[in-house]
């Protein structure tokens, strides 16, 4: 368990490629923006799948608790995640 932990990389959600599944660790936002993110279900522990990029590579669509939600890089950069697969 402990050894496995060393290889885990903590990354912003914006860096994750399409097709990967990650788990939310921490939100770097504050105030209203943080409240909105929490409202979408982006709480620590939530599992997110990176679904697709838009034709111009931003925004990116994610599967968050059963709904497909697109986030701009400005937002996804503020969500720290850990890769699961």
């Amino acid at each position: 368990m402990k050894e496995g932990y060393i290889y885990e990389k903590i990354m912003p959600l914006s860096e994750i490629d399409v097709g990967y599944t990650v788990q939310v660790l921490k939100l770097l936002t504050t105030g209203l923006q943080r409240r909105r993110m929490l409202d979408l279900g982006l709480i620590p522990g939530t599992v997110i799948e990176v679904l697709r990029k838009s034709p111009l590579a931003d925004p990116i669509a994610y599967n968050i608790r059963g709904a497909t939600i697109a986030l701009r890089t400005e937002e996804s950069r503020q969500i720290l995640v850990r890769q699961m697969n």
Binding site: L32, D39, I64, R65, G66, A67
Partner: protein, 264 residues
């Protein structure tokens, strides 16, 4: 006469939400739900062409209302904006929250999508915290079937402690039962026992600390636990709403009398 009406919530409906009733016996039903769950389909299916749209007073948010009759009663259905939560992070959420909280509808229907129930339950639990006159409508049952998702309606009813109806509003399936349940709840023939939301010990402790003071300040007009939670959460809009709906008494007499004229 005006003294009698001061205590009646229908005056608030007229004054703050621009909802006029033809008859004092009309029952007001709020329709809440996440965006994209077929809420407007349910609304249209229940009210048909007996509907009209306007704006919420002072807000550029659409306000659709419609009427339907069930058994011996007339119902006014108010379509609230589609929201993910009632935590008032947007105008829409504030409008929805204020209507359920201060408009005191006779019952609230929460429409959810059977194919992503988990996300939708977030809103349901929040509405249940505000009012016990709630009916859950699990819509899009046909989509769920197509996607091979099974929802245990009876089990959900037991978990939540409120009536749950599975519907496919597009084809009208389940709507009769929904209207029956709304009738029962709105007229008080059936009571619910919503599952209470439990928070972490530090939050619960904070609520306890605030409650005595809030009981005194709110004079039984709002649930102190709910207000305590909003204060802890740092909701910037709740105090404005409390002021607007509970403490704002200026020039209200004249308008309340107008409301009385509509009574029969």
């Amino acid at each position: 006469m005006s003294l009698m009406c001061k205590s009646c919530s229908k005056a608030v409906l007229n004054k703050k939400f621009n909802i006029k009733l033809n008859c004092h016996d009309d029952l007001v039903i709020a329709l809440a739900g996440n965006p994209n769950v077929g809420k407007s389909t349910v609304f249209n299916a229940l009210t048909g062409l007996n509907q009209h749209t306007g704006n919420w007073p002072g807000k550029t948010v659409e306000n659709a209302r419609g009427n339907y009759k069930h058994k011996d009663k007339k119902f006014v259905l108010v379509d609230l904006p589609g929201t993910y939560s009632l935590l008032a992070n947007s105008v829409e959420e504030q409008v929805a929250r204020d209507f359920i909280c201060f408009g005191k509808p006779n019952a609230t229907i929460v429409v959810t999508d059977a194919t992503c129930l988990e996300r939708n339950l977030n809103l349901v639990l929040q509405v249940m915290e505000l009012t016990d006159k709630v009916i859950l409508c699990v819509n899009l049952m046909d989509e769920a079937k197509r996607k091979k998702i099974k929802v245990d309606i009876k089990g959900l009813e037991k978990e939540l402690g409120i009536p749950v109806v599975g519907t496919t509003a597009r084809s009208g399936e389940g709507l009769q039962e929904l209207m029956d349940q709304v009738y029962e709840i709105a007229l008080g023939f059936q009571t619910t026992s919503p599952r209470p939301l439990v928070y972490t010990p530090d939050v619960e402790w904070k609520i306890e600390e605030l409650t005595p003071k809030l009981v005194e300040l709110l004079e039984g007009k709002l649930n102190p636990r709910w207000v305590a939670l909003r204060l802890i959460e740092g909701d910037p809009t709740i105090l404005d709403s409390i002021r607007n709906f509970l403490y704002d008494d200026k020039d209200s007499n004249a308008q309340e009398e107008v409301a009385c004229i509509y009574e029969c």
